[in-house]
Amino acid sequence: MATKKLLFVARSLPYKTEASRLALTHAISSQSVEIYLKDGDLVEATIAFVGDGVMNCLKNQQAMKHYGITSIEGHMKNSLLLDMKVMICKEDLAKFGIKEDALLMDADDIGGEVKAQIVPYSEIQKEMESVDHLLFC
């Protein structure tokens, strides 16, 4: 019985590459990982948005309307619905002048109970230290 902890750190702008989208979808897939593991073993994934990566967290992304693809916002919502820990770097939001009300912060409307957390970089650094593996993208 053990739990391995992973932290995905999304530092790239959305859409030009699949990096942030795939970080979220891979992190979410930790929820079905037991089928490959022994009883009681788990992989727990957390995701942090830093630098340009905070742009992934804006709400009202219209990617489906214009390009027929799900938005990054939609994946964030799913991760919150599944009670995953989502951190957004406070200093980077401040640099871009982005306020909390411009961000996707919860999945209330689809029954989620967990909120995204705006945290100082130092807390993300602490998370980086505490996990077993770090996955930057």
Partner: protein, 120 residues
Amino acid sequence: MGKLTIGCFSSLVGSLSLDFSIKLAEAAVAKGHTVDYWMSGNATMLSKKGQKAFKDYSHLAKPVQTLLATGKFNITACEACAAARGYHKEDTMEGVKSFSMDWYLASTFEADRVLHIGGD
């Protein structure tokens, strides 16, 4: 000896990141380590069979076959990423498996080290 899990998300030709990851796998296996190799995103291009060798383009199909023959190298493509690109069972190189993304996460459980090459 340890286990290294590599996740690669870079496109086949035109980014030497994929070449790096395969050469790193070769070096790790040569030292007796085992390697789980996960292809996602554009890196699933590596799973396509029938890649023709030209001097102008990276040709990684051969080193992948050599790695597979060692028995210390597992390679799996993200099923949906591949299908979105038109790669189905009949398109896939011999020895390459296909699973959903949780395979990668599960692989990290036993891994001593993980290297996530996350974008192009």
